[in-house]
């Protein structure tokens, strides 16, 4: 018993010792497990070592959903962290709750950190911004859907990497003949619905894709283009040109890693993980395909992943520390390190240029696809979407589109159901804001 007391007392003194410098301490709740979590710790250690006024402590809170839920619970109890990581589909909830966060753009300018939204890569700029284009959340782990290919499989079939779905249709029979599943995807809503609209510059929701406010926003998925796309995907599946292994991401990606699928649509961030798998074939990545029948040139996609929000209700000193941390985080060197270690895209143009100058893309050409795709031509519908209860809308999309592929429903019925249930959820969300 005495030993415990002594140890506890010693620990208390040790803690008091570090606090003697009057450092401002801030906390950062995140959802990055495994290797990603280690890189997060590396960033935090780097920041703490770079100066001695502030100290940031990253805390892993589980999955994206768990992090958001614990952040909300903590906020209601007045125990919120300074920085909370929120994933793309949950951002409408956080941004809608004005007063829960300090817009990152205001936070930076109030604390003397230079901010120009044009320093950010085009596809990164506005996803977490408000309808005026003011950045609310700081883009952190950002990725976009791209297509990976097994170069050996393409060579065996004697075909080139397709840039459009029309080209894919031409080469699919040859890939099938060569013994491969020509194509799989990993996330139906993200790759075939959300970014489908951006890639073709099609409106995804009314009210400027939802950015103008939750009131009256309606989802627009029941369109001729979507019907055409999913009718084709179902045809490919029936012909053996497309493989579907459920809504689990890894179940689908595993087919590519095992050398069974010739191409897969995944995240630009998969690049880091794939490099460590020791796959026995040559591989590379290229842009997310588009339909030439819808648009002559493919537009840019937007970012998925998550962003960092500065939570409200913190002291000026702590907010200053958070702003300083964001300054450190967005510096080209840190962004390049994050990009190199994880495969996520760098969020600023300067970091992209640094990676390029350092020869990163000569060594790993597949790493450049994500940033480059985010810099393609922009349109009215390429900045993203802002829809409340989007986690549930994604569930509806996943469910109905899976049912199309399993033959339990038709494309028309599924899209009509998504639109109907999606609009009900959006109307319900609008009432939570009242």
């Amino acid at each position: 018993m005495n030993t415990i007391k002594i140890t506890a007392a010693a620990a208390t003194f040790a803690l008091a010792g570090t606090a003697a410098f009057a450092q401002t301490e801030i906390t950062w709740w995140h959802a990055m497990g495994g290797n990603l979590g280690e890189t997060v710790n590396k960033i935090a250690e780097g920041f703490n070592a770079s100066q001695d006024e502030y100290k940031i402590t990253p805390i892993f809170k589980g999955s994206y959903e768990e992090t958001l839920t614990s952040g909300i619970a903590a906020f209601r109890a007045g125990e919120q962290p300074n920085i909370m990581q929120v994933f793309d589909a949950g951002s409408a909830t956080v941004i809608g709750a004005q007063g829960a966060t300090v817009p990152v753009q205001d936070l930076l300018s109030e604390n003397g950190v230079d901010f120009d939204i044009n320093d950010y890569i085009p596809g990164v700029r506005y996803f977490y911004a408000d309808n005026q284009g003011k950045m609310i959340g700081m883009p952190f782990n950002s990725s976009s859907p791209v297509m990976y290919y097994n170069a050996d499989a393409l060579a065996a079939a004697g075909v080139e990497v397709p840039t459009t779905y029309e080209e894919f249709e031409e080469i699919a029979p040859k890939l099938k003949e060569a013994g491969y599943i020509p194509l799989v995807q990993t996330h139906l809503p993200w790759e075939f619905v959300e970014n489908f609209h951006s890639r073709h510059n099609l409106p995804f929701a009314t009210n400027a894709n939802g950015y103008d406010g939750a009131e009256g926003t309606q989802i627009l998925v029941n369109s001729d283009e979507m019907k055409m796309h999913f009718t084709k995907v179902k045809e490919w599946l029936d012909e053996g040109y497309f493989g579907f292994f459920g809504t689990g991401w890894d179940d689908n990606q595993a087919q590519f890693e095992a050398g069974k699928a010739a191409m897969y649509i995944g995240s630009s961030g998969d690049f880091g993980g794939l490099s460590t798998k020791g796959m026995s074939f040559e591989w590379g990545s290229s842009y997310l395909p588009y339909w030439a029948s819808i648009t002559e040139e493919g537009y840019q996609t937007f970012i998925g992943g998550a962003s960092l929000f500065a939570m409200a209700g913190k002291s000026a000193e702590e907010n200053k520390a958070t702003a300083e941390f964001f300054r450190y985080l967005t510096s080209p060197e840190v962004q390049y390190m994050w990009h190199r270690e994880t495969g996520y895209v760098p969020v600023t143009t300067a970091a992209y240029e640094l990676a390029k100058a350092d020869g990163h893309y000569d060594r790993f050409p597949a790493a450049e696809t994500g940033p480059k795709q985010l810099m393609l031509a922009a349109g009215d519908n390429t900045r993203g979407y802002r829809m409340g209860f989007y986690v549930q809308i994604r569930d509806v999309e996943n469910r109905e589109l899976s049912r199309v592929l399993s033959g339990e429903t038709t494309v028309e019925d599924a899209l009509a159901t998504i639109e109907k249930e999606g609009n009900e959820l959006l109307a319900r969300f609008a009432k939570t804001q009242g």
């Binding site: 959903e65 809608g96 579907f244 292994f245 809504t247």
Partner: protein, 293 residues
């Protein structure tokens, strides 16, 4: 018999206070809160809210998906309860007859009890893995293209199998001790009356096991409704997609994942009413036919 009583009126109340306060804080208060929030649609951070009356309940009653989930929950509960009880009873009756190495057999049959539901789910995930799961390969050799998490039926099948496997040992322990508490004299008397083993089982053993069975029935229905959460969560890995789920899992999906506090509160209230009705029904209907010795 003389009625025992307390000298003071306050002592019994005082003795009840700890228990009552625990129930109050951890059950009645949250339950009342759930009822209240089921009448609102509110921003999860607590900034805005709209009183919507019964709208959350109305949209549940109109939701085709909610009915589908309810149907699945009923079928799932019936299957899990039935198979967990039947298999455990079979194993208990057989284990009761074993004399040599009885302890080893019993321990082997019991130890799954110690496995936590998420761990059971994870083992199911490995056994039913799409590409290299041994059971997937076995089904494949029978011509069944088993596709966990891509096919609704296959996923449901895996959920039932894993949930049953996890629950059998608990039932087994109870059935075995129930069997062993049947007096030897009764068994020997039955042996004289009836030469058929199955006849003796249904006429004598089974009715004498009824109190144990009834208790286990309630435990198993509760298990299938609520405690299988871990199994389901691990098997669908947080992405329900077109996979089956139970009512409890849907509360989690909409409330914790989706931050729809009003909608998921309404679902929990429905669930509370359901459990209440079930309990009343069970005690009223089933208990009448059971004879406790």
């Amino acid at each position: 018999m003389k009625r025992a009583g307390f000298a003071s009126r306050w002592l019994p109340i005082l003795l009840l206070v700890p228990q009552l306060s625990i129930i109050l804080v951890f059950f009645y208060w949250p339950a009342a809160y759930a009822v209240k929030s089921s009448f609102y649609l509110q921003d999860p951070f607590g900034f805005g809210q709209t009183f919507v009356g019964l709208e959350n309940y109305a949209s549940l009653s109109k939701s085709a998906e909610y009915f589908k989930v309810t149907n699945f929950t009923v079928i799932f509960t019936v299957l899990v309860t039935f198979f967990s009880l039947a298999l455990a009873l079979l194993l208990a009756v057989k284990a009761d007859k074993v004399i040599r190495g009885a302890r080893t057999y019993r321990t082997l049959l019991m130890w799954v009890y110690a496995v936590a539901p998420p761990v059971a789910g994870f083992m199911g995930l490995l056994l039913f893995n799409q590409r290299w799961g041994p059971l997937t390969e076995f089904f494949g050799s029978l011509g069944w293209d088993f596709n966990l998490r891509a096919d609704y039926f296959d996923t449901a099948f895996a959920m039932v199998v894993v949930s049953v496997w996890k629950q059998v040992p608990v039932n087994f322990i109870f059935f075995l001790s129930g069997l062993q508490s049947i007096p030897k004299s009764v068994r020997e008397a039955a042996l004289i009356d009836n030469r058929s083993a199955s006849g003796r089982f249904w006429d004598v053993t089974f009715p004498l096991l009824a109190p144990t069975g009834f208790f286990l029935l309630i435990i198993n229905i509760t298990y299938a409704l609520f405690d299988t959460f871990g199994v389901i969560d691990t098997l669908v890995q947080g992405e329900p997609g077109n996979n089956p789920m139970t009512l409890v899992y849907k509360v989690y999906v909409d409330g914790f994942r989706g931050n729809d506090l009003g909608g998921s509160s309404a679902q929990s209230v429905v669930l509370m009413v359901l459990v209440l009705a079930l309990t009343v029904f069970q005690f009223r209907m089933v208990e009448k036919r059971i004879h406790y010795t």
